[in-house]
């Protein structure tokens, strides 16, 4: 059914040649692979990757800093990809006298630069939203949110408490959204604006006709909510507008094969498999320039991951499991932590396997991975584990360990925003405000 409709649409749009992808020749690129020879830079992407329930600081944090740090027991899963990753330890979320709202203060502290005054309340937008506002306007999707758990509520991409960008957890739904009938192959030989899209765009613009009259009717709070609705309408209009322009070629873009949904759930094997499927599709969404900003939730804040046949979730284990006296840590809870890091290694490897220019897709990304706590048993928000991946088009170094030694974690967020080109010189609120980027990673 879909195929038929696509064929018809393509037929209408101008013939059969449209389906053949043209590889971008290397001679069209500059020497370091970060820009086209014409001077137009390769697109730079930003993403986040989240896992719940942290780690054991004494087994996770490396001692030495710089490139020659030792791989600690809990960093074992990233050994093979260490060249792509920078480990940031001992950067703190400062609560500024507010309560430690379990599994929410740490996560929101890192993402918004401010510890929340109430559990799960976003007073400020998350960092991905700030970055998407700055760079997300030129792609079909401002940002894409994904969750391995399949639960759309597992999303930490938020403009405010009530404006949460829902996560997609089904590979089929994600595929259809990205590569369904509305997808325009950037490497298609010829391009003709689709008259149906022209019509849709002009019809859609009429939805906002009565915006001013409506705004006059409601109070300030509701006006802001309606504004958000109209912004969403506008964004769809922009999506349609972009579909009417010939997209810039994307060398690495290969339309992925149609996928099938596997089982969905919090069982770690199920989540791990779903995560790989979704990441593969995300890599192509990025390579095909469908978005520049993405968010992946591997497990939720207060990880509800389970292991078949055991009665406790990852989260419950972090609180209830006794530390093994010989090992001096909680073996089952720690096992979930290791599996989470393996999934992160999968994620990085999948992006690094896509060749783009003379580097990889990952080289033109900057990905922030972090958790909601360091030691989950006590909900510790000091030294929450953070990793960065990707060289941001040559703007940052990778393969390092940087220790924050109690400095506010907002230094990381500030650095990321500056690398992504946001014109800011400080970030964070109260005790977390900082003007000091993590210069060790800057090129």
């Amino acid at each position: 059914m879909t195929i038929t409709r696509r064929r018809i649409l393509r037929g209408a749009a101008g013939g059969l040649a449209a389906t053949v992808a043209l590889p971008l020749l290397d001679c069209m690129l500059n020497t370091n692979g970060t820009a086209l020879a014409s001077g137009a830079p390769m697109p730079l992407r930003f993403g986040t990757w989240f896992w719940g329930c942290g780690m054991n600081p004494s087994r996770w944090n490396p001692k030495a800093t710089g490139a020659d740090y030792e791989i600690t027991p809990e960093l074992k899963p990233i050994e093979a990809i260490r060249a792509h990753v920078t480990v940031l330890s001992k950067f703190d979320v400062l609560l500024d006298g507010k309560s430690n709202f379990v599994h929410s203060s740490g996560n929101l502290g890192i993402r918004t630069g401010q510890a929340p005054a109430q559990a799960d309340q976003n007073e400020l937008p998350t960092i991905d939203v700030l970055i998407a506002d700055a760079i997300g306007g030129t792609t079909r999707f401002r940002s894409l949110e994904l969750t391995a758990s399949g639960n759309p509520r597992h999303s930490y991409s938020r403009r405010s408490t009530s404006i949460v960008n829902p996560s997609e957890g089904s590979p089929v739904a994600f595929y259809t959204r990205l590569f369904g009938p509305d997808f325009k192959d950037p490497n298609a030989a010829d391009f003709k604006p689709d008259p149906a899209v022209i019509l849709r765009r002009s019809v859609l613009s009429s939805v906002s006709d009565d915006r001013a009259r409506l705004a006059a009717k409601v109070g300030a709070g509701d006006r802001a909510r309606l504004d958000e609705y109209f912004t969403s309408v506008r964004q769809l209009e922009q999506q349609l507008e972009l579909q009417l322009q010939k997209p810039p070629p994307a060398e690495a873009c290969v339309m992925p094969k149609k996928t099938v949904d596997g089982p969905v759930g919090q069982d770690i094997e199920v989540s791990t498999a779903n995560h790989k499927l979704l990441t593969g599709l995300l890599a192509m969404a990025l390579a095909c320039n469908q978005t520049k900003v993405f968010n992946m939730v591997f497990s939720d804040s207060a990880s509800s991951l389970t292991k078949a046949g055991t009665d406790k979730t990852h989260h419950t284990l972090t609180h209830e499991e006794l530390a093994d006296p010989q090992l001096d840590y909680q073996p089952q809870a720690t096992w979930f932590g290791a599996r989470s890091l393996e999934a992160w290694a999968d994620f990085v490897s999948i992006l690094a396997a896509v060749k783009e220019a003379d580097g990889t897709l990952l080289d033109n990304c900057l990905v922030l991975a972090h958790s909601d706590t360091s030691f989950a048993k006590t909900h510790d928000v000091l030294g929450i584990p953070i990793m960065l991946a990707g060289r941001a088009g040559g703007r940052v170094k990778t393969g390092l360990h940087v220790a924050g030694n109690g400095e506010p974690v907002t230094r990381v967020g500030l650095t990321l925003q500056q690398v992504m080109g946001l014109p800011i010189d400080r970030w964070g609120m109260g005790a977390m405000q900082t003007a000091k980027p993590v210069s060790e990673i800057l090129v």
């Binding site: 309560s99 430690n100 379990v102 203060s105 401002r142 949110e145 758990s149 399949g150 639960n151 759309p152 509520r153 999303s155 408490t161 009530s162 949460v164 960008n165 829902p166 997609e168 959204r177 022209i198 019509l199 002009s202 019809v203 859609l204 009429s206 939805v207 006709d209 009565d210 409506l214 006059a216 009717k217 409601v218 109070g219 509701d222 909510r225 609705y229 109209f230 912004t231 969403s232 309408v233 964004q235 769809l236 999506q239 919090q266 509800s304 389970t306 078949a308 046949g309 055991t310 009665d311 406790k312 979730t313 419950t316 609180h319 209830e320 499991e321 006794l322 048993k377 006590t378 909900h379």
Partner: protein
Amino acid sequence: MSRLLASCRVLAAVALALSLAGCGPREPETAGRPLTVQRLTEKQYRQITADVFGDDIRVVGRFEPVVRKDGLIAVGTNAATVTPSGFEQFDSMARNIVAQLFEEGRRDRTVACKPPAVNAPDDACAGLVLAKYGRLLFRRPLSPDELKARVAVAHDASMASGDFYHGLALALATELEMPEFLFRIDSAESDPDHPGNMRLDAYSKASRLSFLLWNTAPDDELLTAAEKGDLNSERGLKRQVDRLLASPRLEAGIRAFFTDMLAFDGFETLAKDAMIYPDFNATVAADAQEQTLRTITDLLVARQGDYRDLFTTRRIFMDRVLGPIYYVPVVPKHGWAPYEFAEGDPRAGLLSQVSFTALYAHPGQSSPTLRGKAVREIFLCQKVPAPPANVNFAVAQDTSNPDYKTARARLTAHRTNPTCAGCHRIMDPIGLALENFDGIGAFRAQENGTAIDTSGELDGVHFANAKDLGQAIHDNPAAASCLVDTLYKYAGGQAPAKGDRDWMRWLNDRFAANGYRVPALLRTLALSHGFYGVAEPGKASGISSATLRLEDQR
């Protein structure tokens, strides 16, 4: 004997006097509540499109995740908005619905008029169609300007595509995407009965009634009543309220309310460990909700029973999916049959049903704490504070420790920690009474080979087991007042004003006087004046915007 008789006579006289006075004590004045802007829920969207276009229309798409605020999704809709990806979905759903409406063979039902030419615009016919559906979707007639704008969209699109129907379809799709459809935007007007005060206008009133009682948009008759001004007269309002209450569709309204109150959306993502609970699956989850909703509507609507009996009723409904979990033989191969637990059965009331015990449990074990918290918050409206961040659970949570074989033993040890004791003392005794029901609600007498002790205490009332707990909640005054509070929040999308204590007390008294019957409570609320009162933060601007709206309509 004679004394008893005498007091009976007095009671009868009082009852007579009350009935002569009409509805008992007069309704106290209220300050009114701010206007609301509520986003439609998924269920409402689906129901409205089925009502307006036919229930064979498929709605395919993902809805925005719900926002739960102050315990209810209904309150969350008053804070929710539409995100970019959410709008993308609404756009695709709208186009998909309209495509079905304009399919060959269906089109003539959608479009009652015939254009003179199919390849050119026809404003008259487009206007008829867009006005008809627009009124049902926006829950009010379109203003002349609004209609003109929609017709213009159809005109231009028909022109551009050379197809009347295609242009009309695109214009109709916009009605399904506009904020006037996706949000319930309340409007106010000045209240002639209380000069200087504001009230909801007739259409907003109609919407509020219809969403409360049927969980869908007003039907044609209710909109017509609003149009004629009937809803502003006591008689006219009564006629409509009684019509809605008498309809079989009331059941949908009651179901929607309890689905929200009981947080059944949690089932969407509820997972149980397949090795520990091989009997649990998606069908069990769906049927467990259905079982509870059937119990509720049977008692409250069909039998016009006392709300508090939900906590003690032995009457339930069974199907072959749930029978094995309850160890109950089920006769019909398909569908549901009423079932009554024996007098001595440990099960009675909602709290012993799978929909409660499975939802408030961990994937691989029961949870007295989650269950106790849910009872306090959902049924007694008592907020349990969040746990402190730095808690040591390990000492008491070792299930292999021979001293702590049951959850009671483990939690008792946990409660020795003074920081934890305060809250656990109010949650655990309730939850421990339900420990006979495991993580999916199946009965067990023992945990780890040790008999389960289900005794405890709720606000001074001692109980021996789950059944007694149900009775204690039944008798607890907080249960009825919590229902009134929750229903008020659900109906208006916000909590009652702090200054409206007298009014809330009046509502509670009416509920009690009517035998704690929920349909009667709905009727009291729907016929009250306070339910439609409007207070705006900046009252002056409220009046001017409402006046504007009135002028628009003239």
